[in-house]
Amino acid sequence: MGSRSFLSRLREGDEIARMITFLFAASVVLITLLLVLELWQGSVLPRHKFGFNFFRTSVWDPIFEQFGALPFIYGTLVTAGVSLLIAVPLGIGAAIFLAELAPARVSDTLEFFIDLLAAVPSVIYGLLGVFIVVPLMRQYLQPALKHSLGFLPFFQGPAYGVGFLTAGIVLAIMVIPYIISVSREVLLSVPRDQREAALALGSTRWEATWKVVVPFARTGIFGSIFLALARALGETMAVTMVIGNTPTISASLFSPGYSIAAVIANEFTEATGDLYLQSLIELGLVLFILTFILNGLARLLIVATSQKGSGMGHA
Protein backbone atom coordinates (compact mmCIF):
# COMPACT_ATOMS: atom_id res chain seq x y z
CA MET A 1 0.00 0.00 0.00
CA GLY A 2 2.70 2.42 1.01
CA SER A 3 4.55 2.06 -2.25
CA ARG A 4 1.58 3.18 -4.32
CA SER A 5 1.59 6.85 -5.06
CA PHE A 6 -1.15 9.21 -4.00
CA LEU A 7 -2.14 9.63 -7.64
CA SER A 8 -2.65 5.94 -8.29
CA ARG A 9 -4.76 5.64 -5.18
CA LEU A 10 -6.73 8.69 -6.31
CA ARG A 11 -7.33 7.02 -9.66
CA GLU A 12 -8.68 3.93 -8.01
CA GLY A 13 -11.10 6.08 -6.07
CA ASP A 14 -9.85 5.31 -2.58
CA GLU A 15 -8.91 8.89 -1.80
CA ILE A 16 -12.21 10.16 -3.17
CA ALA A 17 -14.17 7.65 -1.09
CA ARG A 18 -12.12 8.63 1.93
CA MET A 19 -12.76 12.33 1.42
CA ILE A 20 -16.47 11.94 0.79
CA THR A 21 -17.07 9.75 3.81
CA PHE A 22 -14.88 12.11 5.85
CA LEU A 23 -17.19 14.98 4.95
CA PHE A 24 -20.16 13.04 6.32
CA ALA A 25 -18.32 12.12 9.50
CA ALA A 26 -17.09 15.69 9.96
CA SER A 27 -20.62 17.03 9.51
CA VAL A 28 -21.67 15.15 12.66
CA VAL A 29 -19.06 17.07 14.65
CA LEU A 30 -20.00 20.33 12.93
CA ILE A 31 -23.69 19.88 13.66
CA THR A 32 -22.99 19.19 17.32
CA LEU A 33 -20.72 22.23 17.61
CA LEU A 34 -23.32 24.34 15.84
CA LEU A 35 -25.97 23.17 18.31
CA VAL A 36 -23.86 24.28 21.28
CA LEU A 37 -23.07 27.57 19.55
CA GLU A 38 -26.73 28.28 18.72
CA LEU A 39 -27.80 27.62 22.29
CA TRP A 40 -25.03 29.83 23.65
CA GLN A 41 -25.55 32.72 21.26
CA GLY A 42 -29.30 32.36 21.31
CA SER A 43 -29.38 33.06 25.04
CA VAL A 44 -27.09 36.08 25.12
CA LEU A 45 -29.69 38.63 26.27
CA PRO A 46 -30.97 36.91 29.42
CA ARG A 47 -27.48 35.75 30.36
CA HIS A 48 -26.29 39.36 30.35
CA LYS A 49 -29.39 40.91 31.83
CA PHE A 50 -30.14 38.46 34.66
CA GLY A 51 -26.83 36.67 35.11
CA PHE A 52 -26.99 34.20 37.94
CA ASN A 53 -30.30 35.65 39.19
CA PHE A 54 -31.95 33.75 36.34
CA PHE A 55 -31.55 30.63 38.47
CA ARG A 56 -32.38 32.22 41.83
CA THR A 57 -35.56 34.18 41.23
CA SER A 58 -39.00 32.75 40.67
CA VAL A 59 -40.87 35.53 38.89
CA TRP A 60 -41.73 34.52 35.32
CA ASP A 61 -43.47 37.54 33.88
CA PRO A 62 -43.37 38.02 30.11
CA ILE A 63 -45.23 41.32 30.29
CA PHE A 64 -42.73 43.05 32.57
CA GLU A 65 -39.92 41.01 31.05
CA GLN A 66 -38.82 39.49 34.33
CA PHE A 67 -37.59 35.95 33.93
CA GLY A 68 -36.55 33.73 36.82
CA ALA A 69 -36.30 30.02 36.24
CA LEU A 70 -36.31 28.69 39.79
CA PRO A 71 -39.82 27.10 39.71
CA PHE A 72 -38.98 25.26 36.49
CA ILE A 73 -35.65 24.01 37.79
CA TYR A 74 -37.35 22.97 41.02
CA GLY A 75 -40.10 21.13 39.16
CA THR A 76 -37.62 19.36 36.91
CA LEU A 77 -35.48 18.19 39.82
CA VAL A 78 -38.42 17.15 42.03
CA THR A 79 -40.17 15.13 39.32
CA ALA A 80 -36.91 13.48 38.29
CA GLY A 81 -36.15 12.73 41.96
CA VAL A 82 -39.58 11.18 42.57
CA SER A 83 -39.23 9.10 39.42
CA LEU A 84 -35.86 7.72 40.52
CA LEU A 85 -37.22 6.85 43.99
CA ILE A 86 -39.73 4.60 42.27
CA ALA A 87 -37.76 3.43 39.25
CA VAL A 88 -34.44 2.54 40.89
CA PRO A 89 -35.63 -0.22 43.26
CA LEU A 90 -38.05 -1.63 40.69
CA GLY A 91 -35.56 -1.47 37.84
CA ILE A 92 -32.65 -2.96 39.75
CA GLY A 93 -34.87 -5.68 41.20
CA ALA A 94 -36.07 -6.61 37.74
CA ALA A 95 -32.51 -6.49 36.37
CA ILE A 96 -31.32 -8.86 39.13
CA PHE A 97 -34.13 -11.24 38.25
CA LEU A 98 -33.29 -11.12 34.53
CA ALA A 99 -29.54 -11.49 34.99
CA GLU A 100 -29.26 -13.87 37.94
CA LEU A 101 -32.41 -15.93 38.22
CA ALA A 102 -34.32 -16.24 34.98
CA PRO A 103 -33.24 -18.93 32.50
CA ALA A 104 -31.60 -17.41 29.41
CA ARG A 105 -34.70 -17.92 27.30
CA VAL A 106 -37.06 -16.21 29.74
CA SER A 107 -34.53 -13.46 30.31
CA ASP A 108 -34.18 -12.76 26.59
CA THR A 109 -37.93 -12.77 26.04
CA LEU A 110 -38.52 -10.35 28.91
CA GLU A 111 -35.64 -8.17 27.69
CA PHE A 112 -37.35 -8.06 24.30
CA PHE A 113 -40.50 -6.70 25.96
CA ILE A 114 -38.40 -4.22 27.93
CA ASP A 115 -36.83 -3.01 24.66
CA LEU A 116 -40.30 -2.55 23.18
CA LEU A 117 -41.31 -0.63 26.29
CA ALA A 118 -38.35 1.67 25.77
CA ALA A 119 -39.55 2.28 22.22
CA VAL A 120 -43.00 3.55 23.27
CA PRO A 121 -43.02 7.27 22.44
CA SER A 122 -43.34 9.82 25.19
CA VAL A 123 -46.60 11.26 23.87
CA ILE A 124 -48.25 7.84 24.31
CA TYR A 125 -47.16 7.81 27.95
CA GLY A 126 -48.63 11.29 28.18
CA LEU A 127 -51.91 10.12 26.66
CA LEU A 128 -52.22 7.29 29.18
CA GLY A 129 -51.06 9.66 31.91
CA VAL A 130 -53.84 12.14 31.18
CA PHE A 131 -56.66 9.63 30.90
CA ILE A 132 -55.59 6.81 33.22
CA VAL A 133 -53.02 7.95 35.78
CA VAL A 134 -54.42 11.41 36.56
CA PRO A 135 -57.96 10.15 37.41
CA LEU A 136 -56.47 7.28 39.43
CA MET A 137 -54.32 9.71 41.37
CA ARG A 138 -57.19 12.11 42.03
CA GLN A 139 -59.69 9.49 43.13
CA TYR A 140 -57.63 6.85 44.88
CA LEU A 141 -53.92 7.29 45.41
CA GLN A 142 -53.78 10.91 46.56
CA PRO A 143 -56.67 10.61 49.05
CA ALA A 144 -55.14 7.39 50.37
CA LEU A 145 -51.72 8.98 50.78
CA LYS A 146 -53.26 12.00 52.48
CA HIS A 147 -55.11 9.73 54.85
CA SER A 148 -52.12 7.65 55.85
CA LEU A 149 -49.13 9.97 55.44
CA GLY A 150 -50.88 13.35 55.45
CA PHE A 151 -48.80 14.55 58.43
CA LEU A 152 -45.76 14.76 56.12
CA PRO A 153 -45.39 18.03 54.22
CA PHE A 154 -45.10 16.06 50.95
CA PHE A 155 -48.67 14.80 50.95
CA GLN A 156 -50.76 17.85 51.75
CA GLY A 157 -53.13 20.09 49.91
CA PRO A 158 -55.98 19.37 47.53
CA ALA A 159 -55.78 16.37 45.21
CA TYR A 160 -55.87 17.80 41.70
CA GLY A 161 -54.62 14.63 40.07
CA VAL A 162 -52.01 16.54 38.08
CA GLY A 163 -48.79 17.62 39.78
CA PHE A 164 -45.26 16.67 40.81
CA LEU A 165 -46.18 13.22 42.09
CA THR A 166 -48.15 12.24 38.98
CA ALA A 167 -45.38 13.49 36.69
CA GLY A 168 -42.84 11.59 38.78
CA ILE A 169 -44.81 8.36 38.54
CA VAL A 170 -45.25 8.65 34.76
CA LEU A 171 -41.53 9.45 34.41
CA ALA A 172 -40.66 6.44 36.56
CA ILE A 173 -42.58 4.15 34.21
CA MET A 174 -40.73 5.72 31.29
CA VAL A 175 -37.17 5.35 32.66
CA ILE A 176 -37.50 1.87 34.19
CA PRO A 177 -36.67 0.15 30.85
CA TYR A 178 -33.36 2.05 30.63
CA ILE A 179 -32.36 1.05 34.15
CA ILE A 180 -33.31 -2.57 33.53
CA SER A 181 -31.50 -3.03 30.18
CA VAL A 182 -28.27 -1.34 31.23
CA SER A 183 -28.15 -2.90 34.72
CA ARG A 184 -28.89 -6.34 33.26
CA GLU A 185 -26.02 -5.94 30.78
CA VAL A 186 -23.69 -4.88 33.59
CA LEU A 187 -24.77 -7.70 35.91
CA LEU A 188 -24.28 -10.24 33.13
CA SER A 189 -20.72 -9.01 32.66
CA VAL A 190 -19.81 -9.91 36.26
CA PRO A 191 -17.46 -12.93 36.04
CA ARG A 192 -18.89 -16.31 36.98
CA ASP A 193 -16.15 -17.07 39.55
CA GLN A 194 -17.41 -14.23 41.74
CA ARG A 195 -20.80 -15.92 42.16
CA GLU A 196 -19.35 -19.38 42.50
CA ALA A 197 -16.83 -18.31 45.11
CA ALA A 198 -19.56 -16.74 47.22
CA LEU A 199 -21.80 -19.80 46.92
CA ALA A 200 -18.90 -22.11 47.73
CA LEU A 201 -18.28 -20.16 50.93
CA GLY A 202 -21.78 -21.02 52.00
CA SER A 203 -23.76 -17.91 51.20
CA THR A 204 -27.36 -18.23 50.07
CA ARG A 205 -28.26 -17.31 46.50
CA TRP A 206 -29.52 -13.90 47.57
CA GLU A 207 -26.43 -13.20 49.68
CA ALA A 208 -24.20 -14.11 46.73
CA THR A 209 -26.20 -11.76 44.53
CA TRP A 210 -26.61 -8.85 46.91
CA LYS A 211 -23.24 -8.93 48.70
CA VAL A 212 -20.96 -10.01 45.86
CA VAL A 213 -22.45 -9.62 42.37
CA VAL A 214 -24.27 -6.30 42.88
CA PRO A 215 -21.31 -4.57 44.60
CA PHE A 216 -19.08 -5.78 41.77
CA ALA A 217 -21.43 -4.16 39.26
CA ARG A 218 -22.12 -1.11 41.43
CA THR A 219 -20.49 1.54 39.26
CA GLY A 220 -22.29 0.29 36.16
CA ILE A 221 -25.61 0.27 37.97
CA PHE A 222 -24.97 3.86 39.03
CA GLY A 223 -24.28 4.54 35.37
CA SER A 224 -27.71 3.21 34.43
CA ILE A 225 -29.25 5.45 37.09
CA PHE A 226 -27.48 8.54 35.73
CA LEU A 227 -28.67 7.60 32.25
CA ALA A 228 -32.23 7.34 33.54
CA LEU A 229 -31.86 10.66 35.37
CA ALA A 230 -30.70 12.36 32.17
CA ARG A 231 -33.74 10.96 30.37
CA ALA A 232 -36.07 12.06 33.14
CA LEU A 233 -34.70 15.62 33.21
CA GLY A 234 -35.06 16.10 29.46
CA GLU A 235 -38.40 14.37 29.09
CA THR A 236 -40.95 16.74 27.62
CA MET A 237 -44.29 15.54 26.37
CA ALA A 238 -45.45 13.17 29.09
CA VAL A 239 -44.45 15.64 31.81
CA THR A 240 -46.09 18.58 30.03
CA MET A 241 -49.35 16.64 29.91
CA VAL A 242 -49.55 15.69 33.59
CA ILE A 243 -47.55 18.18 35.67
CA GLY A 244 -50.22 20.88 35.71
CA ASN A 245 -48.16 23.65 34.09
CA THR A 246 -48.24 26.12 37.00
CA PRO A 247 -44.94 27.64 38.11
CA THR A 248 -45.05 26.87 41.83
CA ILE A 249 -42.49 25.86 44.39
CA SER A 250 -44.17 23.74 46.99
CA ALA A 251 -43.02 21.00 49.33
CA SER A 252 -46.26 19.15 48.61
CA LEU A 253 -45.97 16.64 45.81
CA PHE A 254 -49.71 17.02 45.17
CA SER A 255 -49.19 20.58 44.01
CA PRO A 256 -49.24 21.30 40.26
CA GLY A 257 -45.86 22.43 38.99
CA TYR A 258 -43.86 23.11 35.88
CA SER A 259 -40.67 21.74 34.40
CA ILE A 260 -37.98 23.25 32.17
CA ALA A 261 -38.87 21.10 29.18
CA ALA A 262 -42.60 21.70 29.68
CA VAL A 263 -42.30 25.49 29.76
CA ILE A 264 -40.24 25.45 26.56
CA ALA A 265 -42.82 23.20 24.88
CA ASN A 266 -45.74 25.36 25.95
CA GLU A 267 -44.40 28.88 25.52
CA PHE A 268 -41.83 28.76 22.74
CA THR A 269 -44.23 29.42 19.88
CA GLU A 270 -45.99 32.16 21.82
CA ALA A 271 -42.87 33.94 23.00
CA THR A 272 -43.06 37.55 21.88
CA GLY A 273 -39.97 39.65 22.19
CA ASP A 274 -36.35 38.63 22.04
CA LEU A 275 -35.76 38.52 25.78
CA TYR A 276 -38.68 36.12 26.31
CA LEU A 277 -37.60 33.77 23.51
CA GLN A 278 -33.97 33.88 24.56
CA SER A 279 -34.89 33.13 28.17
CA LEU A 280 -36.55 29.97 26.93
CA ILE A 281 -33.45 29.15 24.89
CA GLU A 282 -31.35 29.66 28.02
CA LEU A 283 -33.57 27.09 29.73
CA GLY A 284 -32.77 24.79 26.81
CA LEU A 285 -29.08 25.47 27.41
CA VAL A 286 -29.46 24.55 31.09
CA LEU A 287 -31.16 21.30 30.11
CA PHE A 288 -28.44 20.59 27.58
CA ILE A 289 -25.64 21.11 30.11
CA LEU A 290 -27.36 18.97 32.76
CA THR A 291 -27.94 16.03 30.41
CA PHE A 292 -24.45 16.44 28.91
CA ILE A 293 -22.83 16.02 32.33
CA LEU A 294 -25.07 13.14 33.40
CA ASN A 295 -24.69 11.22 30.13
CA GLY A 296 -20.92 11.64 30.26
CA LEU A 297 -20.78 10.34 33.83
CA ALA A 298 -23.08 7.45 32.97
CA ARG A 299 -20.93 6.38 30.04
CA LEU A 300 -17.75 6.51 32.12
CA LEU A 301 -19.25 4.39 34.88
CA ILE A 302 -20.75 1.79 32.53
CA VAL A 303 -17.53 1.42 30.53
CA ALA A 304 -15.48 1.17 33.75
CA THR A 305 -17.61 -1.70 35.03
CA SER A 306 -17.67 -3.76 31.86
CA GLN A 307 -13.88 -3.36 31.55
CA LYS A 308 -13.47 -4.47 35.14
CA GLY A 309 -15.57 -7.53 34.34
CA SER A 310 -13.67 -8.51 31.22
CA GLY A 311 -10.33 -7.79 32.92
CA MET A 312 -11.17 -10.19 35.73
CA GLY A 313 -12.43 -12.76 33.26
CA HIS A 314 -9.12 -12.93 31.45
CA ALA A 315 -7.04 -13.08 34.59
Binding site: R18, V28, A102, A119, S122, G126, I173, E235, G284
Partner: protein
Protein backbone atom coordinates in the same frame (compact mmCIF):
# COMPACT_ATOMS: atom_id res chain seq x y z
CA UNK B 1 -27.68 -22.01 64.27
CA UNK B 2 -30.35 -23.98 62.52
CA UNK B 3 -32.80 -21.17 63.07
CA UNK B 4 -30.35 -18.67 61.68
CA UNK B 5 -29.85 -20.77 58.55
CA UNK B 6 -33.58 -21.09 58.09
CA UNK B 7 -33.90 -17.33 58.43
CA UNK B 8 -31.20 -16.73 55.83
CA UNK B 9 -32.87 -19.13 53.43
CA UNK B 10 -36.20 -17.45 54.01
CA UNK B 11 -34.70 -14.03 53.29
CA UNK B 12 -33.02 -15.38 50.18
CA UNK B 13 -36.21 -16.87 48.81
CA UNK B 14 -38.23 -13.81 49.74
CA UNK B 15 -35.87 -11.32 48.09
CA UNK B 16 -35.47 -13.44 44.97
CA UNK B 17 -39.25 -13.64 44.69
CA UNK B 18 -39.41 -9.87 45.04
CA UNK B 19 -37.02 -9.39 42.13
CA UNK B 20 -39.35 -11.60 40.08
CA UNK B 21 -42.26 -9.39 41.11
CA UNK B 22 -40.30 -6.30 40.01
CA UNK B 23 -39.67 -7.90 36.61
CA UNK B 24 -43.31 -8.90 36.17
CA UNK B 25 -44.56 -5.44 37.20
CA UNK B 26 -42.15 -3.69 34.81
CA UNK B 27 -42.97 -5.87 31.84
CA UNK B 28 -46.70 -5.86 32.48
CA UNK B 29 -46.70 -2.08 31.90
CA UNK B 30 -46.21 -2.82 28.20
CA UNK B 31 -49.31 -4.98 28.13
CA UNK B 32 -51.31 -2.39 30.06
CA UNK B 33 -50.34 0.23 27.51
CA UNK B 34 -51.18 -2.04 24.59
CA UNK B 35 -54.42 -3.16 26.20
CA UNK B 36 -55.64 0.37 26.91
CA UNK B 37 -54.72 1.60 23.44
CA UNK B 38 -56.38 -1.33 21.69
CA UNK B 39 -59.44 -0.95 23.91
CA UNK B 40 -59.88 2.82 23.60
CA UNK B 41 -58.30 3.27 20.19
CA UNK B 42 -59.89 0.22 18.60
CA UNK B 43 -63.39 1.47 19.34
CA UNK B 44 -62.63 4.95 17.97
CA UNK B 45 -60.80 4.01 14.82
CA UNK B 46 -62.74 4.12 11.58
CA UNK B 47 -62.27 4.56 7.88
CA UNK B 48 -62.86 8.29 8.30
CA UNK B 49 -59.86 8.48 10.57
CA UNK B 50 -57.58 7.61 7.66
CA UNK B 51 -59.35 9.54 4.91
CA UNK B 52 -60.88 12.74 6.33
CA UNK B 53 -59.41 16.05 7.38
CA UNK B 54 -59.92 17.16 11.00
CA UNK B 55 -63.41 18.51 11.57
CA UNK B 56 -63.76 22.20 12.52
CA UNK B 57 -63.62 22.85 16.27
CA UNK B 58 -66.94 21.97 17.88
CA UNK B 59 -68.07 19.52 15.22
CA UNK B 60 -67.68 15.82 15.73
CA UNK B 61 -66.28 13.45 13.16
CA UNK B 62 -63.43 14.04 10.80
CA UNK B 63 -60.12 12.24 10.73
CA UNK B 64 -56.39 12.71 10.60
CA UNK B 65 -55.56 12.04 6.96
CA UNK B 66 -53.41 15.16 6.79
CA UNK B 67 -51.49 14.18 9.90
CA UNK B 68 -50.78 10.71 8.55
CA UNK B 69 -49.47 12.13 5.28
CA UNK B 70 -47.62 14.84 7.22
CA UNK B 71 -45.90 12.28 9.42
CA UNK B 72 -44.94 10.26 6.34
CA UNK B 73 -43.43 13.33 4.70
CA UNK B 74 -41.54 14.32 7.83
CA UNK B 75 -40.14 10.83 8.30
CA UNK B 76 -39.13 10.56 4.64
CA UNK B 77 -37.28 13.88 4.87
CA UNK B 78 -35.69 12.87 8.15
CA UNK B 79 -34.44 9.60 6.66
CA UNK B 80 -33.10 11.36 3.55
CA UNK B 81 -31.16 13.71 5.80
CA UNK B 82 -30.15 11.52 8.72
CA UNK B 83 -29.43 8.11 7.20
CA UNK B 84 -26.76 9.15 4.64
CA UNK B 85 -24.83 11.16 7.24
CA UNK B 86 -24.99 8.30 9.70
CA UNK B 87 -24.20 5.63 7.12
CA UNK B 88 -21.28 7.28 5.30
CA UNK B 89 -19.96 8.70 8.54
CA UNK B 90 -19.89 5.19 9.96
CA UNK B 91 -18.03 3.91 6.89
CA UNK B 92 -15.41 6.56 7.46
CA UNK B 93 -15.11 5.64 11.14
CA UNK B 94 -14.92 1.90 10.56
CA UNK B 95 -12.77 1.79 7.43
CA UNK B 96 -10.71 4.96 6.99
CA UNK B 97 -10.38 6.91 10.17
CA UNK B 98 -7.53 7.04 12.66
CA UNK B 99 -8.41 6.64 16.30
CA UNK B 100 -8.30 10.33 17.28
CA UNK B 101 -10.77 11.46 14.65
CA UNK B 102 -12.96 8.41 15.34
CA UNK B 103 -13.01 9.32 19.03
CA UNK B 104 -14.05 12.91 18.30
CA UNK B 105 -16.82 11.89 15.89
CA UNK B 106 -18.12 9.20 18.22
CA UNK B 107 -18.06 11.62 21.12
CA UNK B 108 -20.03 14.19 19.11
CA UNK B 109 -22.55 11.53 18.08
CA UNK B 110 -23.04 10.36 21.66
CA UNK B 111 -23.46 13.95 22.76
CA UNK B 112 -26.05 14.55 20.04
CA UNK B 113 -27.82 11.33 21.04
CA UNK B 114 -28.15 12.53 24.61
CA UNK B 115 -29.55 15.97 23.76
CA UNK B 116 -33.16 16.20 24.99
CA UNK B 117 -35.55 16.19 22.05
CA UNK B 118 -37.00 19.57 23.02
CA UNK B 119 -33.52 21.12 22.70
CA UNK B 120 -33.20 19.57 19.23
CA UNK B 121 -36.43 21.45 18.50
CA UNK B 122 -34.88 24.75 19.62
CA UNK B 123 -31.85 24.08 17.41
CA UNK B 124 -33.95 23.30 14.33
CA UNK B 125 -36.04 26.39 15.08
CA UNK B 126 -33.08 28.75 15.11
CA UNK B 127 -31.39 27.06 12.14
CA UNK B 128 -34.31 26.48 9.75
CA UNK B 129 -37.46 28.24 10.99
CA UNK B 130 -35.92 31.64 11.77
CA UNK B 131 -34.13 32.16 8.40
CA UNK B 132 -37.28 31.17 6.43
CA UNK B 133 -39.45 33.07 8.90
CA UNK B 134 -42.14 30.39 9.09
CA UNK B 135 -42.76 26.87 10.39
CA UNK B 136 -42.31 24.19 7.77
CA UNK B 137 -42.22 20.49 6.98
CA UNK B 138 -38.57 21.06 6.10
CA UNK B 139 -37.71 22.23 9.61
CA UNK B 140 -39.54 19.30 11.18
CA UNK B 141 -37.81 16.81 8.91
CA UNK B 142 -34.47 18.40 9.74
CA UNK B 143 -35.12 18.10 13.49
CA UNK B 144 -36.10 14.43 13.23
CA UNK B 145 -33.20 13.72 10.87
CA UNK B 146 -30.77 15.14 13.43
CA UNK B 147 -32.03 12.58 15.91
CA UNK B 148 -31.54 9.73 13.43
CA UNK B 149 -27.87 10.53 12.81
CA UNK B 150 -26.28 9.28 16.05
CA UNK B 151 -28.33 6.08 16.23
CA UNK B 152 -27.58 5.16 12.61
CA UNK B 153 -23.92 6.13 12.88
CA UNK B 154 -23.06 4.27 16.07
CA UNK B 155 -24.79 0.99 15.25
CA UNK B 156 -23.69 0.96 11.59
CA UNK B 157 -20.11 1.40 12.73
CA UNK B 158 -20.45 -1.47 15.19
CA UNK B 159 -21.81 -3.77 12.51
CA UNK B 160 -19.12 -2.77 9.99
CA UNK B 161 -16.44 -3.46 12.59
CA UNK B 162 -17.97 -6.87 13.23
CA UNK B 163 -17.24 -7.93 9.64
CA UNK B 164 -14.22 -10.27 9.91
CA UNK B 165 -10.93 -8.84 8.70
CA UNK B 166 -10.36 -11.95 6.60
CA UNK B 167 -13.06 -10.69 4.22
CA UNK B 168 -11.29 -7.33 3.80
CA UNK B 169 -7.92 -8.99 3.29
CA UNK B 170 -9.34 -11.52 0.85
CA UNK B 171 -10.83 -8.80 -1.34
CA UNK B 172 -7.70 -6.69 -1.22
CA UNK B 173 -5.54 -9.72 -2.02
CA UNK B 174 -7.60 -10.19 -5.17
CA UNK B 175 -6.63 -6.67 -6.14
CA UNK B 176 -9.82 -4.79 -5.29
CA UNK B 177 -9.35 -1.18 -4.29
CA UNK B 178 -10.48 -0.18 -0.82
CA UNK B 179 -13.72 1.48 -1.83
CA UNK B 180 -14.60 -1.49 -4.01
CA UNK B 181 -13.98 -3.79 -1.07
CA UNK B 182 -16.27 -1.68 1.07
CA UNK B 183 -19.02 -1.38 -1.53
CA UNK B 184 -19.09 -4.98 -2.70
CA UNK B 185 -17.88 -7.01 0.29
CA UNK B 186 -18.10 -5.25 3.63
CA UNK B 187 -21.39 -3.38 3.39
CA UNK B 188 -23.25 -6.39 1.90
CA UNK B 189 -21.83 -8.56 4.68
CA UNK B 190 -23.19 -6.18 7.31
CA UNK B 191 -26.42 -5.19 5.58
CA UNK B 192 -28.77 -6.89 8.05
CA UNK B 193 -27.25 -5.01 10.93
CA UNK B 194 -27.28 -1.72 9.05
CA UNK B 195 -30.92 -2.20 8.02
CA UNK B 196 -31.83 -2.92 11.64
CA UNK B 197 -30.02 0.21 12.79
CA UNK B 198 -31.83 2.38 10.26
CA UNK B 199 -35.22 0.87 11.12
CA UNK B 200 -34.67 1.39 14.85
CA UNK B 201 -33.62 4.99 14.25
CA UNK B 202 -36.74 5.47 12.12
CA UNK B 203 -38.99 3.97 14.81
CA UNK B 204 -37.37 6.14 17.46
CA UNK B 205 -38.11 9.43 15.67
CA UNK B 206 -41.53 8.33 14.39
CA UNK B 207 -43.04 9.02 17.80
CA UNK B 208 -41.08 12.16 18.62
CA UNK B 209 -43.33 15.07 19.44
CA UNK B 210 -41.27 17.70 21.20
CA UNK B 211 -38.97 18.58 18.26
CA UNK B 212 -42.00 19.08 16.00
CA UNK B 213 -43.89 21.53 18.22
CA UNK B 214 -42.09 24.58 16.91
CA UNK B 215 -40.66 23.29 13.65
CA UNK B 216 -43.42 21.47 11.74
CA UNK B 217 -45.91 23.15 14.13
CA UNK B 218 -49.33 21.84 13.12
CA UNK B 219 -51.98 22.32 10.51
CA UNK B 220 -55.69 21.50 10.35
CA UNK B 221 -55.57 21.33 6.57
CA UNK B 222 -53.44 19.73 3.88
CA UNK B 223 -49.94 21.03 3.66
CA UNK B 224 -48.47 21.20 0.18
CA UNK B 225 -44.79 21.04 -0.56
CA UNK B 226 -42.16 21.37 2.10
CA UNK B 227 -42.42 25.06 2.97
CA UNK B 228 -45.66 25.02 4.94
CA UNK B 229 -46.40 23.95 8.50
CA UNK B 230 -47.77 20.43 8.62
CA UNK B 231 -49.77 18.26 10.96
CA UNK B 232 -48.21 15.07 12.29
CA UNK B 233 -49.61 12.16 14.27
CA UNK B 234 -47.62 12.70 17.50
CA UNK B 235 -48.44 16.42 17.70
CA UNK B 236 -52.10 15.66 16.94
CA UNK B 237 -52.18 13.18 19.83
CA UNK B 238 -50.77 15.86 22.11
CA UNK B 239 -53.14 18.64 21.09
CA UNK B 240 -56.18 16.37 21.00
CA UNK B 241 -55.43 14.76 24.37
CA UNK B 242 -55.18 18.06 26.26
CA UNK B 243 -58.17 19.63 24.48
CA UNK B 244 -61.49 19.66 26.33
CA UNK B 245 -63.56 17.87 23.66
CA UNK B 246 -64.74 14.28 24.12
CA UNK B 247 -64.63 13.53 20.40
CA UNK B 248 -61.03 14.72 20.16
CA UNK B 249 -60.05 12.41 23.02
CA UNK B 250 -61.43 9.46 21.06
CA UNK B 251 -59.39 10.47 18.04
CA UNK B 252 -56.28 10.90 20.18
CA UNK B 253 -56.69 7.29 21.30
CA UNK B 254 -57.13 6.14 17.71
CA UNK B 255 -54.03 8.07 16.62
CA UNK B 256 -52.11 6.64 19.57
CA UNK B 257 -53.06 3.12 18.54
CA UNK B 258 -51.95 3.71 14.95
CA UNK B 259 -48.67 5.33 15.99
CA UNK B 260 -47.77 2.75 18.63
CA UNK B 261 -48.75 -0.10 16.29
CA UNK B 262 -46.45 1.28 13.60
CA UNK B 263 -43.54 1.75 16.00
CA UNK B 264 -43.84 -1.67 17.63
CA UNK B 265 -44.15 -3.42 14.26
CA UNK B 266 -41.01 -1.68 12.96
CA UNK B 267 -39.17 -2.63 16.15
CA UNK B 268 -40.19 -6.26 15.92
CA UNK B 269 -39.34 -6.46 12.20
CA UNK B 270 -35.95 -4.84 12.83
CA UNK B 271 -35.07 -7.33 15.54
CA UNK B 272 -36.32 -10.24 13.43
CA UNK B 273 -34.07 -9.17 10.53
CA UNK B 274 -31.10 -9.12 12.86
CA UNK B 275 -31.75 -12.40 14.61
CA UNK B 276 -32.57 -14.46 11.54
CA UNK B 277 -29.48 -15.95 9.92
CA UNK B 278 -26.62 -14.00 11.36
CA UNK B 279 -24.34 -13.49 8.40
CA UNK B 280 -21.77 -11.67 10.45
CA UNK B 281 -19.61 -13.72 12.75
CA UNK B 282 -18.52 -11.54 15.64
CA UNK B 283 -14.80 -12.07 15.91
Amino acid sequence: MNNRLRWRKFISNFMLTMTGVCAVVSVSVLFFILGYLVFHGGTSISWNFFTKLPAPVGETGGGMANAIVGSAKLLLLASLFGVPIGFFGAIYLAEFSNSTIAFVVRYAADLLNGVPSIVIGIFAYSLVVLPFKHFSTLAGGFALGLMMIPITLRSTEDFLRAVPNALREGAMALGASKWKTIATIIVPAAYRGILTAVLLAFARVAGETAPLLFTAFGNRFWSSGLGQPTASLPVMIFTYAIAPYEDWHRQAWAAGLVLLGLILVINIVARAILSRGITVSRS
